[in-house]
């Protein structure tokens, strides 16, 4: 999935998850706030209703007390007070109706309160009327009987019923609010966890899709730089896959360009050989002709002075000229030869087999025994595991390295050369073996170590002959085998060359882009005419 979305789509997806959560979060927050506000106002309203109801009752109690006072004292003030209280109670009932509409459920309770209150008010008014009509005795009777108390009690009962109902409703509402809050809390927390989880999952998927593929791409760049075959192309259709495709195309074109270069080098070198034959041959012929002339002159009748001059020409000048021509031609021949050999190293097809490296190395050491004895060196060959590669190429490889080691020994101390393998017993682990050729010779100065494997650079000129392509050749061979070569050297102490090769046939063949990149570098070789190079 990560492979087929463009970078923009991936970004949007990653961005969308948290944003989505935030939207939901705000929505929930708003809802909670509104519910809380509603609950708040409901509670306030309930409080008002309760207060209002109590005020009705209180007013009526005041009315009763005032009425009693009037009956007992006959003072007009009490009558007025009673009247005022009754009016107040009625006003409060109306106000109660504004708080609790008649049509609502609670309205029926208020209706009952009103009815009972009205009944009580009527009784109070009856008492007042009796007093006004100077029927004091009846008024007192009226007060003495329990009618008033009954009506008051009824009113109280109605009020209490109403208030209980209110409080019940209130409790309900609070419970509901609580529950709603808890639910929303849980919802928010689990939502947060879910979004975190989703974001992390998406991040992880995109890590696989982006970071890791970029790592693979970087690795491919490294393989190209080392001239090794690339890993297979990545599937997918997003920008990274596109980049990968372009990369493979680029690597392929590099390879093609290099192969063209090699082909060019090869055909030019090849064509140059023919005129070279003529140059070499006819400079030889000139020598022969001069020799014959010399013989003729000696046996002739030329005056002695002329004879001397002719003799000098034939004996010194002409041969010297020819000698310089021949030297130059010989140099050209070696360069052309080296070029041919180098370009052939890249072109010739390999036959890959299990190579008995020990046998090859022993054979190489044998063939060099003259040089080895001449330098008085000691060569030891350790246990060398088999390698997977082309036998001829591997022989060339070791021939070059070993003859270098022999030829660049330090004349001031006895030379020792060791050829072995690291982890000879662990070859099974990762399928690679590191062979080494170690000498205690002249060494390579630090400055030249980085340019070691470039062609046509001789580091110790005069120490031995050769055109200077041996290490370039070796490098080409190692690259084509998918291996690596490096050197450790300390001037004045010696040099060790390490070569890593596959020890057995690789189980999976990587896409066979044999990118050969030839560098220009310095090296210290003596070009050994290895048996593989001699035809016929």
């Amino acid at each position: 999935m990560g492979r087929n979305l463009s970078m923009l789509q991936k970004g949007l997806l990653l961005f969308a998850a948290p944003v989505l959560f935030q939207l939901v979060f705000f929505g929930a927050l708003l809802k909670m706030e509104r519910e809380s506000f509603e609950a708040q106002s409901a509670a306030t309203q309930t409080q008002d209703v309760i207060t209002q109801t109590e005020m009705v009752f209180r007013s009526l109690i005041e009315a009763i007390n005032s009425s009693r006072g009037y009956v007992i004292t006959g003072n007009e003030l009490f009558k007025t007070a009673s009247r005022d209280s009754i009016d107040a109670a009625e006003a409060e009932i109306s106000r109660l109706y504004t708080l609790v509409p008649r049509t609502s459920e609670r309205g029926t309770y208020v209706d009952l309160i009103e009815k009972r209150a009205t009944a009580l008010i009527h009784w109070l008014e009856r008492v007042d009327h009796l007093l006004d009509a100077n029927q004091r005795e009846q008024a007192i009777e009226e007060i003495k009987n329990l009618e008033g108390k009954h009506r008051t009690d009824d009113l109280r009962a109605a009020i209490d019923e109403f208030l209980d109902e209110q409080r019940l409703q209130d409790a309900h509402r609070r419970d509901e609010l609580d529950r709603s809050w808890r639910l929303q809390n849980r919802f928010l927390i689990s939502g947060l966890i879910a979004v975190l989880g989703i974001t992390l999952t998406i991040l992880f998927v995109f890590y696989l899709g982006i970071s890791r593929r970029l790592e693979l791409l970087a690795e491919k760049a490294r393989l190209v730089a080392q001239g090794r075959p690339l890993t297979p192309p990545m599937p997918g259709t997003d920008e990274i896959s596109l980049l990968d495709q372009r990369f493979h195309e680029m690597a392929k074109s590099l390879v093609e360009r290099n192969q063209e270069n090699e082909l060019f080098t090869y055909s030019v070198s090849h064509d140059l050989r023919s005129p070279l034959v003529n140059l070499q041959g006819f400079s030889e012929e000139l020598t022969h002709s001069a020799e014959e002339l010399q013989r003729l002159i000696e046996g002739s009748n030329l005056p002695s002075e002329a004879q001397a001059r002719v003799a000098r020409l034939l004996r010194d000048d002409i041969p010297e000229s020819i000698h310089f021509i021949q030297t130059a031609v010989a140099r050209m021949a070696t360069i052309i030869d080296a070029l041919l050999r180098l370009s052939r190293a890249g072109r010739v097809e390999y036959r890959l087999v299990n190579v008995d490296v020990t046998a090859i190395v022993r054979r190489v050491v044998d063939s060099l025994h003259n040089d080895i004895d001449q330098h008085g060196a000691r060569v030891s060959v350790q246990e060398l595991p088999e390698a997977w590669g082309d036998a001829t190429a591997i022989e060339q490889l070791f021939a070059n390295l070993i003859s270098n080691a022999v030829n660049y020994l330090d004349p001031d101390r006895p030379g020792t050369i060791e050829i072995g393998a690291i982890d000879a017993h662990d070859s099974g682990t990762n399928g690679r073996i590191i062979y080494y050729v170690k000498d205690n010779g002249l060494g390579i100065p630090k400055d030249y170590q980085s340019k070691l494997f470039l062609a046509f650079q001789r580091f110790h000129p005069g120490v031995s002959r050769g055109e200077g392509i041996g290490l370039a050749l070796v490098h080409r061979i190692v690259n084509r085998h998918g291996g690596q070569i490096w050197a450790r050297s300390a001037p004045g102490h010696g040099t060790t060359f390490y070569v890593s090769l596959a020890t057995r046939k690789p189980t999976e063949t990587p896409s066979s882009i044999d990118s050969s990149i030839s560098h220009r570098a310095r090296n210290l070789t003596h070009d050994v005419p290895v048996t593989a190079d001699r035809a016929g």
Partner: protein, 159 residues
């Protein structure tokens, strides 16, 4: 037993190379006649009595020095045709060339050339080559002792 002298046919397109070879052979004392042709087609014409050599009977006994890189028809193709034709398949052939590419060498031997030498043609290598051919094709070098200091040879075949 009587012997017949072999005609050495040299197929070489480069005049310089041809001259060098002829001089070297002479210098090493070989007395046989050397006939130079300039490319593969001419060589075949000579050996079949066709084309440029129409009407002339082809040489009965010869030794062919065959360069590989020639225009029109290269040495390898000439070799192939010679060996495919019963009239010419027993002619001894020495391939001479500038290249030493192993693949080319293999092809030549597979096609049946006797020997393969790289240029420039060292006289000693040449006589060695002839001697090697001799093992297969009954040609020998007959020394001519003319009493002179230089050794002289003639390449012959028994009748």
């Amino acid at each position: 037993m009587t012997f017949q002298s072999l005609l050495i046919v040299l197929a070489e397109d480069d005049d310089g190379h041809a001259t060098l070879i002829q001089r070297n052979l002479k210098r090493s004392g070989i007395l046989n006649t050397i006939h130079r042709v300039h490319d593969g087609q001419e060589a075949l014409d000579l050996l079949h009595g066709e084309g440029k050599y129409q009407g002339q009977s082809p040489p009965t006994r010869c030794l062919l020095l065959l360069d590989i890189n020639m225009p029109r028809l290269n040495g390898i193709e000439v070799l192939r045709r010679l060996k495919a034709d019963s009239r010419t398949d027993s002619i001894p052939v020495i391939m001479i060339t500038t290249t030493d590419s192993p693949r080319e060498v293999e092809t030549c031997y597979r096609l049946g050339c006797g020997v393969y030498i790289t240029k420039p043609v060292e006289p000693s290598l040449f006589t060695e080559a002839v001697q090697r051919l001799g093992l297969f094709l009954q040609i020998i070098t007959l020394p001519h002792d003319k009493g002179g200091s230089s050794k002289q040879l003639e390449i012959v075949q028994p009748d």
